[in-house]
């Protein structure tokens, strides 16, 4: 059931209706049943295979969470009971034992779920790479494994929960069904955001009365999400497909066009999908974390990653980067490297290693392909390079007083946009060498060639399509600029007047229905982030 399918729209409408009709204490059970039904239906053969994987993850994390919580409770009670009788060392030894036990439970849970994720998602990739070193006769057969929809998203949500419980920053959920709902909540299972339990649980399980402002806020966001996905992304995908498939015709300057088109397509696809997700939740009074904050307004790559796919970035930072950076081995390595390489370089060695591992993991998380791995590492290289060059930038900025100039800020934004768009090209072409070749051709032959006009016309879009894309992108840009200047979404203004809310809702419905690229003649694509 694609987000862009009629079935999904109808399904969502019925769920929201049921949510407000049933007695309040049944609201979250309605969501649970709907989410499990949605996930069951997502299996191409409508078998409970996807559901089986999801339930293993959910139940294992729930049990482990409870065991960790119980270990905490017992230790607290024990220490309280033996407050006077235990020496300081005995207390420390006891606490260490409990800590080890909690770590063991957490590690078992992580291994089980990362194991499922790895086997289902990466077996084929690993065997394919092994086979490339083997003779054809010795090639290992690639098993036909299913990849449960959204497994990367729900696994990461669950692992985040279990780590938080172990850290004591999150209380274990006692109700198994509530926890299954947290893992399986249907709008966000497909492409995130990767929510933290503490952030979602309060509004996910609490009762909500119908509030027209909250409801229409969600509906407007859903419609704007469909606008981005269907009016822009689904049109651009036609041209991007042509540009990425016929690489002989579309090299040189066309790679630049592909870069810009793909940047716009991915932005509208991913943010559109997230708008639909957050909008559905919002229409029911449930608050999910924001996943984007005007990423194309970033002035450098670091800022970009704080604004793009925010929940993924923070997940990797909180659960991989920081633990890795302060792990005893890293601290030891940091000490050694400072001694051997000097304070300046030495202190950066461990940061680089942690950062390298985080970006490697980010690339692998995105997909079982070298393109994603190289994409992750390219991000690492650029972040490290900009980090190293920062003192030089500072000097340069100070000397020319650039930091205060608006024009320079615009330059920084465009520079970051182009840089990130170029790195994103690893997502566009079929393999890594080809991507490098195509990026190279963009610099070597920047023109469109002698038959550029005909080749551009053969991209599959009409002048009217470009007109629609141009107008839609201009609107999205204007709304983003409004948000950047005013610091709030324009929805806030619209929602202050009920007649205006209704008018905008009506206009958006009609605009999406008329100008959306869907139905026969268009093949509404899966959201790009669904595959992760």
């Amino acid at each position: 059931m694609l987000f862009t399918s009629y079935k999904f729209v109808l399904f969502t409408a019925l769920v929201i209706l049921a949510y407000y009709i049933v007695p309040k204490k049944l609201q979250w059970p309605v969501l649970l049943v709907s989410s499990l039904g949605f996930y069951w239906y997502a299996d191409p053969e409508h078998l409970p295979r996807y559901l089986g994987f999801l339930l293993i993850t959910a139940v294992s994390a729930w049990v482990c969470g409870l065991l960790i919580g119980r270990a905490d409770d017992i230790s607290k009670a024990y220490l309280l009971e033996h407050k006077e009788s235990l020496s300081k060392d005995e207390k420390k030894a006891y606490k260490d034992r409990v800590k080890k036990k909690k770590v063991l439970i957490m590690v078992l849970c992580l291994l089980l779920n990362l194991g499922i994720l790895s086997v289902t998602k990466y077996t084929s990739f690993v065997i394919t790479n092994i086979n490339s070193f083997l003779k054809a006769s010795k090639a290992i057969r690639i098993p036909d494994l299913i990849i449960p929809m959204g497994i990367s998203f729900y696994t990461f949500r669950t692992l985040g929960y279990i780590i938080d419980v172990k850290r004591g920053t999150c209380k274990p959920e006692k109700n198994l069904f509530k926890f299954i709902l947290f893992v399986s909540f249907f709008p966000q299972i497909v492409q995130g955001p990767i929510s933290r339990y503490n952030n979602v649980a309060p509004t996910l399980f609490e009762n909500h009365s119908f509030d027209d402002k909250v409801f229409f806020s969600g509906i407007l966001r859903i419609l704007f999400g469909y606008f981005k996905k269907l009016v822009v992304a689904e049109r651009l995908v036609i041209a991007v497909k042509a540009l990425s498939e016929d690489t002989e015709l579309y090299s040189g300057g066309f790679v630049f066009i592909a870069m810009i088109f793909y940047a716009a397509e991915l932005y509208c696809d991913f943010t559109g999908g997230i708008d639909i997700t957050i909008g559905i939740a919002e229409a029911m009074g449930i608050k999910l974390e924001e996943n984007f904050n005007l990423p194309f307004f970033s002035k450098n790559i670091k800022e970009y990653w704080n604004r793009w796919h925010i929940t993924m970035g923070s997940w990797f930072t909180d659960y991989i980067f920081y633990p890795l950076s302060v792990s005893p081995r890293m601290l030891k390595l940091s000490k050694v490297s400072r001694e051997k390489l000097g304070k300046g370089i030495g202190k950066r060695v461990t940061v680089y290693i942690s950062c390298f591992l985080v970006w490697l993991a980010t690339g692998v998380w995105h997909g079982a392909a070298w393109n994603f791995i190289v994409w992750g590492l390219m991000n690492f290289v650029v972040i490290m390079a900009s980090g190293e060059l920062e003192p030089l930038y500072e000097k340069f900025h100070k000397k020319f007083g650039l930091k205060k100039k608006k024009g320079y800020a615009v330059f920084e934004i465009i520079r970051t946009f182009l840089l990130m768009s170029m790195i994103r090209m690893f997502d566009v072409y079929r393999d890594v060498p080809l991507t490098f070749c195509m990026i190279g051709s963009m610099f070597v032959h920047p023109g469109l060639g002698s038959n550029g006009r005909e080749a551009f016309a053969a991209l599959g879009l009409t002048a009217a399509d470009y007109g629609v894309i141009g107008a839609a992108v201009a609107l999205i840009f204007a709304l983003s600029t409004y948000k950047a200047i005013k610091g709030e979404d324009i929805r806030g203004r619209i929602l202050t007047k009920f007649p205006l809310t209704l008018a905008v809702t009506s206009v958006l419905i009609i605009t999406v229905l008329v100008f959306g690229a869907y139905g026969v003649g268009y093949d509404a694509n899966q959201f790009i982030y669904n595959q992760f």
Binding site: F498, L502, I510, L513, G519, V520
Partner: protein, 358 residues
């Protein structure tokens, strides 16, 4: 704002949005007034107020090959052709079911060429046949039976979802005929062509791996026979007198056997062309694929003679109420023929038809 006022505003906005969507649907639906006009044929039946004792059902081999006006003029038979381009047998079946909701004819002719298709074929042809059908369980079932894998029932229920992308190809016709109106494309289901292009040779019939007619198609033929039986209608199977697309002897034999089994008449008019006086050097407008009006009148005469002799049909020429309506159709028929013949005389071809029609 008070709750009551909000509810009223919401209801008003909801209704206004629905009205706008309805208007947009009317605007975007293809009007089939020029070029490809076949999509307009099915809907025209509902405007006709005359009773029909003979109904022809099938594809272009019926709507281009039999002159309904000639049947009336010569024999007083009131007939209608429920045909459309590449009308598949399940569409014909449900169109017959649909027709039986409005009237019960005495005789139904079904042209068997579509038996060669056993599965849904083409979305564009589906739409041309099904969009014009009025909503009923018959239409629902016809859509279900006809949809190709890319199609969705919702697109039929809400045609705006199918035709929304026409926003950049709208013409003045789309506004002019938004609420209907304009001349009919057919006269009682007959689509007239007055030009002449003699039959030329056809490419050799390809050899098929399997000559058996599809189970699904034959099942619908059987259902059609049952339906006619239930309603006391005589079903007659026919194969139009044109040779291309090919109608293999093996297929012909299977239809003959079926007719025999079910006690039905089956006429292959290809074999009866001489008897009907059809001359493919003058009676076709497209090198033998379809008959022109001269051929269609000859075939109508031949069928009319058979019907008059074998069935107790009303001579509607003696029924003032019906004949007055038929006279209007005869007038329109003559006018259209005159217009086409004048065009042919003036330009040497029929410029108001075809893809480049002005």
């Amino acid at each position: 704002m008070k709750k009551g006022k909000k509810i009223i505003l919401f209801a008003a906005a909801f209704i206004v949005t629905l009205i706008l969507l309805w208007l947009l649907t009317l605007l975007f639906m293809p009007k089939y007034r020029r070029g490809i006009v076949e999509g307009a044929m099915i809907a025209e039946y509902y405007e006709d107020r005359k009773p029909h004792e003979v109904i022809f059902i099938g594809d272009c081999e019926v709507y281009e090959n039999i002159s309904t006006v000639e049947l009336y003029r010569e024999y007083g038979i009131s007939s209608y052709i429920r045909g459309s381009a590449q009308q598949l047998i399940w569409q014909s079946y449900y169109l017959l079911e649909d027709t039986l909701r409005y009237e019960t004819p005495k005789v139904v002719f079904f042209n068997v060429l579509s038996l060669k298709y056993n599965e849904p074929q083409n979305e564009a042809y589906n739409r041309m046949t099904l969009d014009g059908m009025r909503w009923s369980s018959s239409k629902w079932n016809a859509v279900q039976a006809s949809m190709t894998p890319d199609e969705d029932m919702v697109d039929y229920l809400f045609p705006l979802l199918r035709y929304h992308s026409r926003w950049n190809e709208l013409t003045s016709d789309d506004i002019r005929y938004m609420f209907g109106g304009g001349e009919n494309v057919t006269i009682d289901g007959y689509y007239m062509r007055c030009d002449v292009k003699p039959q030329a040779g056809f490419p050799k019939a390809p050899v098929l791996a399997d000559y058996r007619l599809g189970e699904n198609a034959m099942n619908y033929l059987s259902m059609m026979a049952d339906l006619c039986e239930e309603h006391g209608v005589t079903l007659i199977l026919m194969k139009a007198p044109t040779e291309y697309p090919y109608w293999y002897d093996e297929w012909d034999r299977q239809v003959r056997e079926f007719a025999q089994e079910r006690g039905l008449e089956y006429f292959n008019y290809v074999d009866l062309r001489d008897e009907a006086g059809i001359d493919m050097s003058t009676d076709t407008y497209d090198s033998g694929l379809h008959l022109n009006v001269f051929g269609a009148e000859k075939l109508a005469d031949y069928i009319g003679a058979y019907l008059s002799a074998g069935f107790d049909l009303t001579d509607y020429r003696n029924d003032p109420a019906v004949s007055s309506m038929w006279e209007e159709d005869c007038e329109a028929y003559d006018l259209l023929m005159q217009r086409q013949l004048s065009e042919i005389e003036e330009y040497g071809e029929l410029v108001s038809f075809g893809a480049n029609a002005i």
